[in-house]
């Protein structure tokens, strides 16, 4: 290697973001910066942008510097490149709070430029959590909606981002289908008859592991869908990889909270069963006639069912709260309950729980329509294909079922995410806040 080549190699650049070009949408730049600094949260980047100039790196190679410059300038950033020498000291831990304009930044082992840790802003507590504030694209117009409008918008969103939403949910559904098919083929070959004890244990362990993986995948997809729908609804661009990537840091919280919710949901019918076991002998002791006993039992069951339904509706928004507000465990359950019990409009049918019930009912009916549509090709193939191709027909029906499942789930899920935003829109008026900021 020649001397000049060495010096060219050693030449490093400091890149600072000094301002934004007129007409730049800050949120677009936030998304761009997040793609460069995937470890930084949107809030951290937004906070750093509020205190320009921002030193992105001081040790980028010429090639890296040109790439970053070209990319960020296309998003409306004004950058300053200055030659510098590489830092002698190693990169400080990310948790160390430093001013972004003075913190030394070095390329990571993977070659990706690491941003300086962005300190948290010390803002007075106003009763509103900053992290929960939705970031609305200035060019988008949102407003409170009725049930029909929520479903209309869900349908429109699904149509506009069909492949994104569909593939997000198809990943777990397809994996489950493939696993199912694979296990059928594997176990269908007479393996079960000649199975030893060791093989049996291995099989059980594999099944448990597979169920666990499927569960994680399912919740991951659920979170990714919530992220994707939220981003597109608020006017931002997103992709399959970004949506799944955004869920990486929240997957544990989502799994834990959903697990807690699952336990509580199972616990309630169990408690009801115990209560019934206590009440039943008491009713018998009261020497009531058979008819009266049945009526009393029916009333008690009805009360229990209404209570259980109410509980389920209270926690309907838990997954959205975890993904979009960063809450978890008990606080996520409480927040969901708070949202579902917010009085946002006058009228019985306009209460959040009743609205949610109607949306779920309409979503269910539309889902039935989607399922029926996807039954038609399978039905026709069963009618017209020869019996020898029964396996093909069955597989076709199963594949179509997976697609129909994904579609029906996607539609209702989008509607519920928009419903979540609708409650927040009414109770928090964040659309007005976004407009007020541009007054």
């Amino acid at each position: 290697m020649t001397q000049s080549a060495v010096s060219a190699e050693a030449k490093r650049f400091a890149i600072s973001l000094t301002g934004l070009k007129p007409g730049t949408v800050p949120e677009d730049l936030v998304v761009a910066l997040q793609s460069i600094f995937p470890r930084k949260t949107v809030e951290q980047i937004r906070g750093a942008l509020a205190r320009l100039p921002l030193l992105l790196t001081r040790s980028a190679t010429e090639e890296q510097a040109q790439k970053v410059k070209g990319f960020l300038e296309s998003k409306g950033a004004i950058l300053r490149l200055v030659t510098s020498t590489p830092p002698a000291t190693p990169t400080p831990p990310a948790s160390t709070a430093r001013s972004p304009s003075t913190a030394p930044i070095a390329p990571s082992r993977s070659g990706v430029v690491e941003a300086a840790a962005v300190p948290k802003r010390n803002q007075p507590y106003t009763g509103i959590e900053r992290r929960a504030k939705p970031r609305l694209h200035p060019g988008i117009s949102i407003h409170p909606m009725g049930i029909g409008e929520i479903l209309d918008r869900s349908f429109r969103l699904l149509r506009q981002h069909f492949f994104l939403f569909f593939f997000i949910l198809l990943i777990p559904q397809g994996t489950f289908f493939l696993f199912n098919k694979g296990s059928q083929i594997f176990l269908g070959g007479g393996v079960l008859q000649d199975m030893t004890a060791g093989m049996g244990i291995g099989l059980i362990v594999s099944v448990v592991l597979a169920v666990l993986v499927m569960m994680i995948l399912q919740f991951w997809a659920q979170g990714a869908l919530i992220h994707a729908v939220s981003e597109t609804y608020l006017g931002h661009a997103t992709s399959l990889a970004t949506s799944y990537g955004a869920m990486r840091s929240r997957l544990g919280r989502l799994l834990g909270t959903m697990f807690l919710m699952g336990i509580l949901i199972v616990l309630v019918p169990a408690l009801m069963g115990i209560a019934m076991a206590i009440v039943a002998p008491m009713l018998k002791a009261m020497s009531l006639s058979g008819g009266k006993q049945i009526i009393l039992t029916m009333i008690l069951l009805l009360v229990g069912a209404v209570w259980f339904l109410n509980l389920l509706l209270n926690w309907l928004l838990v997954d959205k709260v975890v993904v979009l507000e960063g809450k978890s465990w008990g606080s996520a359950l409480r927040r969901s309950k708070e949202l579902m019990n917010t009085r946002t409009e006058q009228g019985f049918w306009k209460r959040p729980k009743n609205k949610a019930g109607l949306i779920l009912l309409l979503g269910f009916l539309i889902g039935v329509g989607i399922h029926l549509l996807f039954q038609v090709p399978g039905f026709l193939s069963q009618m017209f294909l020869p019996m020898s191709l029964g396996g093909v027909t069955l597989t076709l029906q199963q594949v179509l079922n997976v697609i129909a499942n994904s579609l029906a789930t996607v539609f209702t899920a989008i509607a519920m995410i928009l419903f979540y935003y609708d409650i927040r829109l009414r109770s928090e008026g964040f659309d007005l806040k976004a407009m007020a900021e541009h007054l």
Partner: protein
């Protein structure tokens, strides 16, 4: 990025443009559900009436002719009436009510021709006879599929009849027309000059806040009020006063603005 509402633009030969908001799957499903309930009530009424007729009418007939008619005939009559309601409900209502049914009326929907004209018996007949194809196997599987692919959210019946379902413009009229009363708490020397710089869009934001604040969370309400008031004060070079709250300031501004501009 999500686009604005799906609209249908119509230009007349006189170069006058009309814009209609197209109804989507959600509002149409809601309207259909409401219509199903109304139809169910109609059918229930018919069957009740036929059952009562079959039971009581022969008793009032001295000639005994009605008594001789088998009861199954009455039920055949009921089935016929059911058929008429099932097929005729949408057809007759849409033709007579200019593209509306009770469900559509409740949801502010209307069927019109793609050129913007109202539909007649022919269009109503075509779109409602083809409903049988859309609804094939129940729950509109084909209709859903075609609507999904259609840029105007049309089902097969709509394509054949050349119709679209639109959202009525009534919804765009502000619900609250009451003007805010001012209490003259705001004493600013150059208020009229300041108000003349208030743009309609800014007025709309403040007005929307004042209309929606009742259902808003208290913390968010006060934050938004502060944000709006401080923005205006900064713009007009006014310093915040302890005598007047942010919300009262906004009420006064809107009240005076409406009075001076005769705004709705």
């Amino acid at each position: 990025m999500e686009t604005a509402k799906e609209t249908l633009k119509i230009h007349t030969p006189e170069h006058v443009g009309f814009r209609y908001v197209l109804a989507g799957l959600g509002t149409r499903s809601s309207a259909f559900l409401l219509d199903t309930i109304v139809r169910g009530l109609f059918i229930l009424f018919i069957f009740l009436a036929v059952s009562l007729l079959a039971r009581w009418l022969p008793a009032f007939d001295p000639t005994g002719i009605l008594a001789a008619i088998p009861k199954s005939w009455f039920f055949a009559l009921g089935v016929l009436a059911y058929g008429v309601v099932d097929l005729g409900y949408f057809l007759i209502f849409e033709a007579l009510w200019s593209g509306q049914t009770p469900g559509k009326r409740m949801q502010n929907l209307r069927v019109i021709r793609v050129n913007g004209q109202p539909i007649g018996w022919l269009e109503s007949s075509i779109r409602n006879i083809l409903r049988a194809v859309d609804i094939l196997l129940g729950f509109y599987p084909l209709g859903l599929f075609v609507m999904f692919l259609s840029s105007r959210s049309q089902r097969i019946g709509d394509y054949a009849a050349g119709t679209v379902v639109i959202v009525e413009r009534r919804r765009n009229v502000p619900m609250d027309r009451t003007r805010l009363r001012t209490t003259s708490k705001l004493n600013l020397p150059e208020l009229d000059v300041h108000l003349s710089t208030l743009e309609p869009k800014q007025y709309q934001v403040i007005r929307s806040f004042l209309q929606r604040r009742q259902v808003m969370n208290r913390a968010h309400r006060s934050e938004l009020a502060r944000l709006l008031a401080r923005r205006l004060m900064k713009r007009w070079g006014i310093s915040p006063s302890a005598d007047i709250s942010d919300e009262t300031f906004l009420e006064e501004v809107v009240g005076i603005y409406e009075r001076s501009r005769r705004a709705i």
